[in-house]
Amino acid sequence: MATPAVAVTHEPLDLDALAALVGAQGDGAVVTFAGLVRDHNQGRRVQFLEYEAYEPLAVRALQLIVDEAKERWPSARVAAHHRIGRLEIGEASIVIAAVSAHRGDAFAACRYTIERVKQIVPIWKREHFDGGDVWLEGATADPEDAAAREKAYRIACA
């Protein structure tokens, strides 16, 4: 079965496979990003993370982001897979691959994608640390918030 450009999965992520998926068409640049489970957060020693998603909407939101990137950087193609379930320290929770004719657009499209994931994809992590656990909460998800989208764009092009 062909690997989809966007996915939410319980399985370990494969950055090389994702890069191969987007990067096989004679372009000049591929930029990849892997987000890993960090062993510390806000002064706490993290034991592991537990990710939960509203899966059908998370897949739609990822697709929306990939489409937005395509609109901003027409020469770029982006793929993004997010993992859910229990993840240990050092494991990848998200992998992104962006390919383009030139490096500038590939870097920007990749950065834009991770910034937007943190804004609008309905996925949550519960941090289990020494002494307890807590749900982490970031942005209020609103795909129509133009200011948030512009912020992601500015970061991507900084």
Partner: protein
């Protein structure tokens, strides 16, 4: 009419369940569904200004009208990545 309510992350913890069936009057909006939930689980109220809502797996507004059999999801601020 009946709708299915989905709750995620801390909202799920506060309600003690990730999926509940609620009876709501015809013409009800997502806001009315939410208000009904808050009556039963007052702890949800702290998310009044920060949550997102989806109807049938599409982001929606609290003013969206809901219909028999719809799936209404309420979501706290996201923390993926």
């Amino acid at each position: 009419m009946r709708v299915t309510v989905r709750l995620f992350a801390r909202l799920r913890d506060l309600a003690g369940s990730g999926e509940v069936i609620r009876e709501v009057p015809p013409g009800a909006t997502a806001r009315e569904v939410w208000n009904d939930l808050v009556l039963e689980w007052p702890g949800l109220r702290e998310y009044e200004k920060t949550m997102s809502v989806a109807v049938n797996t599409e982001y929606a507004r609290m003013t969206a009208e809901v219909h028999e059999g719809d799936e209404i999801a309420f979501m706290p601020p996201v923390s993926g990545g």
